[in-house]
Symmetry: D3
Subunit: 284 residues, 6 copies
């Protein structure tokens, strides 16, 4: 069960409204790698977790923190959308098609034209659970597989992409309040990348899971001839120069092999004739 405190985890108010930046910032709320994703991903992983208590507890700690990150960003966006849309009563004097050729549009008109229309029409100045192009967050963005090693790699990536996106938005703003708030979120992303990398170490140390995932599947049941072959299917052999083409594999269980001119090993593709009641097209 959950509880809420009214103070935000961290927050500095923007100096100025900026509805266009608000549109861009939505990527951090409702994009594939926004805070809604990590919040839901860690909560579902925690709820579904059957492993030792330290893992379940850790996942619920961070999942709970992420709810508060969505809250921080929702507050940030409400401040940035403030006063939008600007008043357009004087717009009538300007026929945008005919007159516009002779001069630039007014800044407030351009802002109205470029902001997310939903921030005015749909939410009346509030954040929405959508991304920077207005596409709604959805449940297929997240994964909670039951296999913690697979999930922890998903979490490292989510935090890496999340920090990358926060950094890009940091560079796209000049507002001290926005930058200060983002600098806190970037720091938390640093922590969380490290946290999941540490959790991968812990899983190995505890002997619960290893690479390749899932590590307990009997290796003799896979076609082991193909388990360490690199297939060179794009013209040229520059790919031969990398770590992935030679030496011991990172899982420590094989040696990489480079197939320079690989050929198919299966039969020609074909599909059997379907039930005639389906009225597909067939031979005479």
């Amino acid at each position: 069960m959950f509880y809420h405190k009214k103070r935000l985890q961290y927050f500095t108010k923007p100096e100025n409204p900026d509805p266009i930046y608000a549109k861009q910032l939505q990527e951090l709320i409702g994009g594939p790698f926004g805070e809604m994703s990590v919040m839901m991903q860690y909560l579902f992983q925690g709820w579904n977790c059957r492993g030792p208590a330290k893992y379940k507890d850790m996942m619920l700690d961070i999942g709970t923190e992420e709810i508060g990150h969505v809250e921080m960003l929702a507050n940030l966006i409400a401040h940035l959308v403030d006063k939008a849309p600007p008043d357009v009563q004087e717009k009538a004097a300007l026929d945008p098609i005919v007159e516009g050729v002779m001069g630039g549009m007014k800044a407030e008109e351009i802002i109205m034209a470029s902001m997310n229309p939903k921030h005015a029409i749909f939410s009346g100045g509030g954040a929405t659970p959508t991304d920077s192009v207005g596409y709604p967050w959805n449940g297929n963005y997240i994964v909670a597989s039951g296999n913690l090693m697979a999930d922890f790699y998903a979490n490292v990536q989510a935090e890496a992409q999340g920090r990358l996106q926060a950094v890009r938005l940091y560079e796209m703003s000049t507002d001290p309040g926005v930058k200060d708030t983002l600098s806190y979120m970037i720091a938390r992303d640093t922590m969380h990348q490290n946290q999941w990398l540490a959790a991968i170490e812990e899983l190995k140390a505890d002997g619960l899971e290893d690479l390749p995932v899932p590590s307990k599947f009997p290796r003799e049941l896979e076609k082991q001839d193909a388990s360490y072959q690199f297939w060179n299917l794009s013209e040229g052999t520059e790919s031969q120069e990398g770590r992935w083409a030679k030496g011991t594999s990172p899982d420590g269980k094989g040696e990489f092999e480079y197939l320079e001119n690989p050929e198919p090993q299966g039969p020609q593709g074909e599909a059997p004739t379907p039930n005639p009641k389906l009225y597909s097209t067939m031979n005479k």
Copy 2:
């Protein structure tokens, strides 16, 4: 530009049709972590890559291989759906509501009831670019961020989840042809997990990128006090027992700190009054 050979990379024909298993197997084609995802993810990463040639070439090698994996699975599904839907001409003798109480439904009726209806009605016995519940694959499943470290972690996870799903489907089948074909795909997933882990090593060795992602963002611009703090927000302190709560962080740049009773550091959440032309509800 691309070329096609008619033989499949690997393939063993199923011994028997099994339309219900065909429905389940669609997860490996069009699910979030199916072959369409890795195919499109590696191709877009390769096309957008600006790094040294060995990386771009490697990504296009594997992206090209994955097109062929979608092809293998499409052939597998066509064989499994074969002869479905079974003939229902004798079904009229059985009122499923009234008569059914006295006996089981016929097996072919249950198969028709449980298979993906689209495999009959929509595709006439062929595979579709959808997952095991019929949800269509979509472009938001993939990521090509321009930051190779972030992307390679995404790729490790995609292959880990992909192998996990293939292994689960392997266990759910008893058909020798299906199992043999899957055992090849599982082996390729072993290779590809290793390949991306090796690529992470290579990026570090080349000095192109490190952790935390993105590694070139100036650390002094983030709120470094918060960069290695674990916030205990779920009741109990089992989470303190893990690697993520103490010692040097995996990026080697900090020491983990455990906040047992963390308090919010920001002001109370609030949102400014919007433009009155939006007719939101406000104070009197």
Copy 3:
């Protein structure tokens, strides 16, 4: 079965084209609470209705009217997109990155940049069944539950949100034709809010349904201790000051109770160990 007349229910032609406003206006066609939603919602409710004829007839009356509202808006958008995209033959003289620093872009370039690209590329100047960010209308926006009380509340809300959005768009335009057409739609939304509120009264008067929905479910089957408790889960007790925290409940069947410091009543969350064939991570 349906028939069509060529005259529109109401319409005043816009004085000027305005492709940016056309983009915004799409919210009223294909947004979650646009005319496509109310049209499909009332038609499906009407088709599925088993209640007295006056309800079924009423729902089909208004559902049929709403088809005509989509038609009005489609005509409005075609007029607003007229002549777009503006001719760009002279754009070549302006390198937007380099030269632009010295002056504003031309108005027609800004319009092209800000309009919905689909209005040019995809539909060639016509309306589309999408919202103001180009997201397509979909069938999960609507509800026809078979329970008329639940549905009529959905309909009140759809008309309330619909009128709110139309009013916001009214304020965002200065074109007399647009404003006149919208003032008619706003009036119809007034009617339709009232109509559904009246239908709620009628359901109660007819003894068909009451609150809470569904009213015929035996109350003794629910955990009645919890049926009128307010759980204070966000810090502070301002929520105690509202009507929802004291007095008789609006359904007339209970007294509100305010739990200032509520505690969980269930056991600790846990999940059973899954089938080992799923290769989830588990204890040693």
Copy 4:
């Protein structure tokens, strides 16, 4: 900011696993009117709220409670999916197409065929943020409009539909644990329907908003002739018998009028000729 306690708000363990019921129960987690919807809807409404503190606090109280409802259901589903998929090692003895004609399939095969395949393949025995057909929850399900009256009607409806769905699932189960847990959720839905109805009363009592929504838009700006007209567009006049066709309107500001044979009031629909550069088809 948020905190978590490990005990669930309420919970009784199911007596038996039932993966098919788990599939159906997903509607209450990730359907349009499941717990994820009310959780996100109330949180966003609370975060965006600018009204008196009692409203903002109340919305965050209930939004926080709903996170815990998702948690309860996730736990319930993990128990119901337990042991699935059943072992299929003996399935090989049965050719489902050929042999099946002579006898029923085994129960465990039917369960595997009918359960949500994602519960095995994708989540390894855990709940997913999707509905009963596997469609992912998405952000367009929720509304936070800034107008509290519009939003409170949305909330009444969400709780009405939510209780209706919980009641239907209650009737579809015979497991005492499931029924007991649902009977608690049904009680909370009773409370929450009442809570939002009380909040509507409070908004009116506080003079913040009234009907029709938005109540502060100047009535003289709408086409008032049409504000209380019922248009009879479906053959027959049964719709004339209802409360919506006569008497004073529920908002108290008009008298209903019944148009038995309404005619269009606008001009014929037409669309202007688009820019020739769009290569649409036009007159010779």
Copy 5:
């Protein structure tokens, strides 16, 4: 503006309920090529049409007819879902996991397990605007391009696929009422395929549009060397035997040419180095 009559265009009541067939039949309502698609496609094409009146009128005739087809199918599904879900009060006697091994499940349990759960839980026995796997209809299924030749080919295809799907469902049913109703819809699909083919002839006869679409784009602006070349990119030359590889092209403006061993004509793919503020990975 639209009007409704209460009688259906055509309808024969099913003899028996069949909730599983109801699930399958949803493909004809809300699938990509179901009646909702043709209804919305023809209406939007008609509303956006600027051509001679006979075209606009014809498109609105058929679009209006298709609303009635959705209505017919909604009625059909309501009859098929009748009485579902069957009563499960006796199910308690059967532990599906343990006991089920010894005998088949009861028919009504299998029906409940296989029907669309939404038909019970969400819609209470009514049709929904979704397809046979429960995926909601959406606005990106339809096209109204402004170019009538492009649109009429879309319409031929929609009717061809629509008739194919109706025929498959006809073969999958043994209920005389269902078959009779479908036989009417199949006939209308015959008409509509012919209607759009005739409209293509008419466009050519009127000189409004021809092939290739769009026919008025100056041919000298395209790279005409490539306009009639067949590129053989899949191993083997069976494709050389078809009409598409030799002779005059169907548009009468070129001669097909077969490139047996085609080579790329462009430079090597590359992407420029992005702005360093984006923190992508780049060369040392």
Copy 6:
């Protein structure tokens, strides 16, 4: 199985970056009728094809070519997004709300405001598998029905709409590199329209399929009275003037008949009373 060559099928580099045009051009990659659609459509049709080898080979030839078209466009977009977002360090001097009234925004600010934010934040300067409004490509865009005649009409339309869209984008650009690359793609669309029209001829010549689709369904099983009737359901009889209202039908099997005043032929729509356990609203 597939192979890749590093040179592009055709390509001319843009002279200047233009991130706004890059946004618009995404329609050709990930829109409903972009290159991803034709690529996946032809590949799935080819993989599922059971007809004579010349058809299967031809479909795989063109499907393979289309992978290369996505590649060309991805390269084009990477060049167009180059250097975006422009540096905004000087933006601080301009309060967009207050100062903007007195002058235009700078060109680079407008570009940042109007470009697809994902091209900066999400992909770091690379193309994405989405359309011009950022909506992701999805698998329900494509069809592979098993009936080649139905599919070939889908393919004609996809190429017609594709060429129309490429032509519109050609007219919207003034960059010689962009125009040259598009002129090649337009030429290929000319070829592919012709190719599918030729394939339709071939199917007829081979006696495999004819009109109406599916041609082998026994005509006596459809309600033949209705197979050639035109129903005039939109006021006025302009639709009587077209080829579709008189003469022999294009399939050569009937005569068109024009019903000027058509009446419904079925009974009144009704729905049976559902199971009381569903708690729908019913008569007293």
